[in-house]
């Protein structure tokens, strides 16, 4: 526990080193599933090259919010989103925006590792292929290898790139999914409880990776684990019953929260 706290303070301390740039902004975001309202007037900004953690009890709307950021909610028929969400100051719900292009810029890693039933190579090459990011086979191979390296998986799988991705362990599968997302060169990576299906060792590995990725990407992570939010994020947003309760720098949230609900939640009094 001690070590974690040290790491946390160290990471949190680094936040001030760069001027902060608002990468994505949510303003008055309301989401309805049919008659049921899932999010109420959420205003939340995502800063560049930072990890923003979304925490809160189950059903609080944090997954709903993260799925608004790359319009994954479009796939749900009864879901309606209102309000404004911008990426680099452009409304992503503008009819002129191509959702396919948006999702290439805002990648996503899911709760349960979901590698395609293809080889490891094909899994990573999938995105670059559909977006035509490489002109020839060598370039494609280069993208695949770099992505796997960035995801910290390359050393483990370099001898079996053409074996099935589904044959990897859970933690490796999740890192494969991260490599797959990186291969498209997104600007923002959304992670919806990326470690909830992993054991502690694999979780530690993925958390380390998230911290490394912050250098080049903007990351939003939904998590149920307070410690994880404290370890990997620089900003934390607390959701409750569809409302954004509080958002602040992670160490403020965890040491001196403004809102009593946040206080109760992070100290484990409910949730």
């Amino acid at each position: 526990m001690n070590m974690m706290t040290e790491a946390e303070t160290k990471m949190a301390g680094e936040t001030d080193s760069k001027p902060l740039n608002k990468k994505m902004q949510g303003e008055k975001v309301n989401v309805h599933y049919g008659d049921k309202q899932a999010l109420f007037d959420v205003d939340l900004d995502i800063y560049e090259n930072q990890v923003t953690a979304l925490i809160g009890p189950s059903g609080c709307g944090k997954s709903t919010f993260i799925r608004c950021l790359n319009r994954m909610n479009d796939t749900i028929d009864i879901c309606r989103v209102s309000g404004e969400i911008t990426l680099d100051n452009r409304d992503i719900y503008d009819p002129d925006i191509d959702v396919v292009d948006l999702r290439a810029r805002v990648g996503m890693v899911f709760q349960k590792p979901n590698p395609f039933p293809k080889s490891i190579f094909e899994n990573v090459a999938y995105g670059p292929r559909i977006h035509g990011l490489s002109r020839n086979k060598t370039e494609l191979e280069e993208i695949v290898v770099t992505s796997l390296q960035k995801a910290g998986l390359y050393e483990e799988v370099k001898d079996r790139l053409h074996e099935a991705g589904t044959g990897l362990s859970g933690g490796q599968q999740q890192r494969l999914c991260i490599a797959r997302a990186i291969a498209v060169s997104p600007e923002v990576i959304l992670m919806d409880e990326p470690c909830s299906a992993l054991d502690p060792i694999a979780t530690a590995r993925v958390e380390e990776l998230i911290d490394e990725l912050r250098e080049n990407y903007t990351i939003v992570i939904v998590t149920h684990s307070m410690q994880q939010a404290a370890r990997v994020s620089q900003r934390t947003a607390m959701f409750h019953l569809g409302y954004l309760v509080e958002v602040d720098e992670t160490d403020t949230i965890f040491t001196n929260p403004n809102n009593p609900k946040t206080q109760d939640y992070i100290t484990g009094r409910y949730g």
Binding site: R103, K118, Y126, I130
Partner: protein
């Protein structure tokens, strides 16, 4: 008589059940925790012990009484029947039974009258013996059943073991019937190959069993038989029509499945899928006259319009209609398979910026491919076994051709024509039907095995 006995046993069953469970209850003094098995199992135990042996005797008697009586009568009249042949003896016994128990009698004579009297006497005695035996078994069962009842008796184990043996017996019926059918096919086929050489049948290019039948009067030699029973045209015809059918059904069925599973709204899907499945419920005879009366003339019309000679019955017509018939198989099974591809894969692909069609083409379909293949194989084996449409739309002429505009015939159709009408059962012509049936059975079996293997492989991927 047997009917009343069975009725009595049924009543006895419930009485014994009630008695057994009440008695168990009384033994335990209302405290069920003292009993090894619940009172209902004690009831079941008693009911089974009382009625099952008696029922077994009744079933045995019902199955074999006729044979036993016949044996006894024949042995009593052995001297009078000594110079008669077996069919004659059977005729006499049949008449005697008719005199004794009512029925249509050929003609009466003294011997038959005498046999009839013996039949009546023996049957009356036998009935009394059976009744007495049943009663005795029930009584014995009741006596020992009640005596063996105790608090610790494992009545539940007894009842459950009985239930299991009943289940085993039922599944054995299904399996044994299949084995029986296969063996009768094999034996008749073996007889056929005694008359017609195996290779002449399997690789012969000429099929005209009708001419074999006509030539039989003119002492056709075995060599000629080999020449008219060449099955290749039939299998070629089957292959041609099946190929056309799959060519129609595979793309249409698959695309319909993709639309249903990934594009259609839930409302449309809930209506369209059952409707599509009723297409599979239409009797094939109806498809048959649709093919013969509508499609075949239409094809002929078009063909002649562009200067092709089309026979009025064509492989194309039969294949097209058969293709329509198997669309529901392909689409419904493929739809299930495509639906079972995890939603997380679709989301994963969409999250990478793939469009819906890219996701379907590059992720969903490859993942579902094994299932789709097995759906197609099932559809093929259905098409291979189809008869009515071909009879009505493709004709009976065993032409060896790959031109879909000509009349062809298939294995199943020929089996029908070989067996229809009055024929000796052991002529080469009828036996040929069994040989064709066996080969067809092997083909569909192979297809089913392949389909099953593919499905198994598919399952391993997600479990």
């Amino acid at each position: 008589m047997i009917f009343y006995l069975v009725l009595a046993l049924a009543i006895l069953f419930f009485v014994a059940y009630y008695f057994g469970s009440t008695r168990a209850n009384a033994m335990a003094g209302g405290d069920h925790s003292k009993l090894h098995s619940r009172p209902s199992y004690h009831g079941g135990y008693l009911a089974l012990v009382v009625t099952v042996p008696a029922l077994a005797v009744l079933i045995f008697w019902g199955l074999f009484s006729g044979t036993i009586l016949d044996r006894m009568v024949t042995s009593e009249f052995a001297t009078q029947l000594a110079d008669k042949s077996i069919p004659e003896i059977e005729a006499i016994l049949r008449d005697a039974r008719a005199i004794a128990f009512g029925g249509i009698v050929g003609f009466r004579d003294e011997l038959k009258e005498a046999a009839a009297i013996r039949y009546e006497e023996l049957s009356a005695t036998a009935t009394w013996i059976v009744v007495a035996l049943v009663a005795a078994l029930c009584a014995l069962g009741l006596y020992f059943g009640v005596r063996s009842m105790s608090l610790r008796m494992r009545a539940r184990h007894f009842v459950e073991r009985f239930a299991i043996s009943l289940l085993i017996a039922c599944s054995a019926v299904a399996i044994l019937t299949t084995i029986g059918i296969v063996f009768s096919l094999i034996f008749e086929t073996a007889r056929f190959f005694q008359k017609v050489p195996f290779f002449d049948f399997l690789f012969g290019l000429h099929w005209s069993p009708q001419s074999a039948f006509e030539a039989a009067g003119d002492q056709a030699s075995d060599k000629d038989l080999g020449l008219v029973f060449g099955a290749v045209p039939l299998f070629a015809g089957t292959l041609l029509i099946t190929a056309i059918a799959i060519f129609v059904a595979a793309p249409i069925g698959l695309m319909a499945a993709i639309y249903l599973s990934d594009y259609a709204g839930p409302k449309f899907r809930s209506i369209a899928k059952p409707v599509l499945e009723t297409l599979a419920g239409i009797p094939t005879v109806v498809y048959g006259f649709f093919a013969a009366l509508t499609v075949a003339p239409a094809i002929r019309g078009w063909g002649e319009g562009i200067g092709l000679s089309v026979s009025s019955e064509s492989a194309l017509a039969a294949g097209l209609v058969m293709g329509i018939m198997i669309i529901p198989f392909v689409s419904s099974l493929s739809d299930d398979v495509i639906n079972s591809v995890p939603q997380s894969l679709r989301e994963g692909s969409a999250g990478l910026g793939a469009t819906k069609s890219e996701t379907i083409r590059k992720v969903v379909l490859p993942a579902a491919l094994p299932g789709i293949v097995s759906a197609l194989l099932l559809a093929i084996s259905r098409a291979v076994g189809e008869t009515m449409i071909v009879v009505m739309a493709a004709g009976l002429a065993a032409n060896l051709t790959i031109n879909p505009l000509e009349a062809v015939t298939t294995v199943t159709v020929q089996i029908v024509t070989l067996l229809v009408g009055d024929q000796e059962f052991d002529s080469a012509k009828t036996l040929a039907a069994f040989a064709l049936g066996l080969v067809l059975f092997c083909i569909t079996l192979a297809l089913n095995v392949i389909a099953l293997k593919v499905v198994q492989k598919y399952r391993e991927q997600y479990d």
